[in-house]
């Protein structure tokens, strides 16, 4: 298990757009951190820089105390769940799961037996055992989501990254997977960084939330602390007002259920 640290990280794209500005963020070992913010706030860029999919313009990113700015993505020991799942369409579920393991060369390569044990373990954990021979297109949205999760977890990643993993699911499934993801985290204890724009996901999943706006960190605290003591006006309106509105809506929706008593 490892921690992650961003030290004064900047990201400027070729067209001059500054996506991330001076980000300082520390994620503890085994922590579940949610990066929260409106679209375009730099949360995905932050995640992609950590994953090695974007270059860092300035600053340092450390995983387990090691600077990884120029380490190739595959060498960072991360698992990532993409928004579109990004399953390999031409491979079976089993091959999708083991693709990363099979790419390892040399002494770290697992034997076939170890590999099939990993598959067994992961597929039973995610209830995929009976789908191993299917192609992704034969699976439902929720199952695809679980394969994507399995593909990230089967490598026993140092850090698990998730980029809005639930946004393609319907409300019921989203709720289910949310519980599932939190359960997996409690079980495995993997350091997890989760990107979302959904305040509810952030409040229910996170140990701590990092709220970003326009490339700058606004607040980094436990969800309830952020809710009770918003650091500035933006956090207050983005997090607190939204949640208050939700509570109010829920109350108005529930009121008719009580009204017969009043009658």
């Amino acid at each position: 298990m490892v921690g992650v640290e961003f030290r004064n990280v900047y990201k400027q794209y070729e067209d001059g757009f500054e996506a991330v500005r001076g980000l300082n963020l520390e994620i503890n070992d085994g922590e579940f951190l949610v990066l929260l913010g409106p679209s375009g706030c730099g949360k995905s860029t932050t995640l992609r820089m950590l994953a090695g999919l974007e270059e860092v313009t300035d600053g340092e990113i450390l995983i387990d105390g090691v600077k990884v700015n120029h380490l190739p993505a595959g060498a960072r020991g991360l698992g990532m769940v993409f928004q579109s799942y990004a399953l390999y369409p031409h491979m079976s579920v089993q091959d999708n799961l083991t693709f990363g393991l099979r790419m390892v060369k040399g002494e770290h390569r697992l034997s076939d037996q170890e590999m099939s044990e990993r598959v067994k373990e992961t597929s039973s954990m995610l209830e995929l055992a009976e789908h191993l021979d299917k192609k992704p297109k034969e699976l439902s949205g929720g199952q695809r989501q679980r394969v994507a999760l399995g593909r990230a977890l089967i490598r026993r990643p140092n850090v698990l990254l998730m980029d809005e993993p639930l946004s393609n699911l319907d409300a019921e499934l989203r709720h289910q997977m949310r519980t599932e993801i939190r359960r997996l985290h409690d079980e495995l204890g993997t350091t997890t960084i989760y990107v979302t724009h959904d305040q509810i996901e952030a409040m229910t999943l996170a140990d701590r939330v990092a709220i970003l706006d326009q490339g700058e960190l606004q607040q980094h605290d436990a969800p309830l602390i952020a809710y009770n003591k918003p650091a500035n006006a933006f956090v207050k309106s983005f997090l607190c007002r939204h949640l208050d509105d939700l509570v109010e809506t829920a109350n108005t929706l529930l009121r008719p259920a009580h009204s017969p008593k009043e009658d």
């Binding site: 090695g52 595959g74 060498a75 990532m80």
Partner: protein, 414 residues
Amino acid sequence: MIEESTVRSWYTPVEVSTLRRWLIVSFLVNMFLLSVDVLRGGGTLGLGLCGLLLIGLMLNTLPEEASTTSRNITLVLSGGLLLVGLLRLLASPRTAFDIWMQGWLIGPGAIALIWVSGRPVSAWSTQTLSLSAIEFGLERNQRLEQRLRSLGAHIVLLHFVFLTLLPLVWILDIALSPGNALGGSLGGPMTGEHFSKIMGSDSFWTWMRNSLIVSLGTTLLGLVVAIPAGYAFSRYKFTGRDISMFAFLLVQMFPGIIILVPYFLVMKTLGLLNSHLGLILAYCVTALPLCVWMLKGFFDTVPRELEEAAVLDGCNQFQVFTKVVLPLSLPAVAVTALFSFLAAWNEFLLALTFNTSNDMYTLPVGLASMISSTGQAWGDFAAASLLVSLPVALLFLFFQKFLIEGLSAGGVKG
């Protein structure tokens, strides 16, 4: 509540609506036939115009609800159309083309006459129908409409099938008839002499070998160059990217004959005249632009996230391409391969210019030489051309699944 008048206004007997469609088609067909007839100097122009006019009028007077007059006028017009058709048939020579042409007047006339005088249309246009009668009529419409529509479509499509197959049947006929006449006799005596003669001749197999080497070489070399090029154009930004994409197309804009002479000089300097390699290189240059564009278009539809997932799974750039992108793009690669193979297989001009010795001929050039040197051996020629198209037809059958997938992939996935 739906009002009775609404129901009534929604009911038209299927005959009337079908006639409306079919008459438009036959109007267009007759217009086309008439112009063909004028071009070949047919003598019954007046009657033809008359028929065209009648069809046009009929389109306007098709029966309406509760209008006995319009029905009667249509009846008269359709009778007239039938008569014009028959008269024209009598006046013109009885060639297959003429009979078929008059059929396009007689047919619509007869069908209109029968349908408009029939009970469903008569009852509908002359009296006010009860609701239950309309209900029955609507049910009948539903039953018949689909069938009539597909019948009409089939009649039209059969014309196209016939036009497409005619040359093929003709060639088959020439190839199977004894002697070397250009017009075979359908149903006459048949012989395999031309086929056995071609199959037995050494030069045919030499040409076949040359064609195969050149076509397969073009396909392979083309793919080896086009796949990475297409990928690079699709994924990377580099200086001159857009300009070179455009330059690719620029080459395609010139007719082949313009670059023929420069080509010849280049090949001569390189000493590649009368060689397979020379042709392969030349064909690659002509086929590449389209191949690169096609593959680029397909690679564009492969989501970037897939490649990022592969990178996180530990692939390097090359492995991302070979293990993820390429397997996904097989349909497009197959289409591209087929395209360059066909282009090389059928090419004539460059092959004729570059390879001048008999044992370096490709099939198209060899076939052409049969006509000039052995005194118009049409029978042998026809047999040989059938043998030449055979591999292509087989390729198409084999690649059909890929072809459809490859051609539609961009639309579905994007």
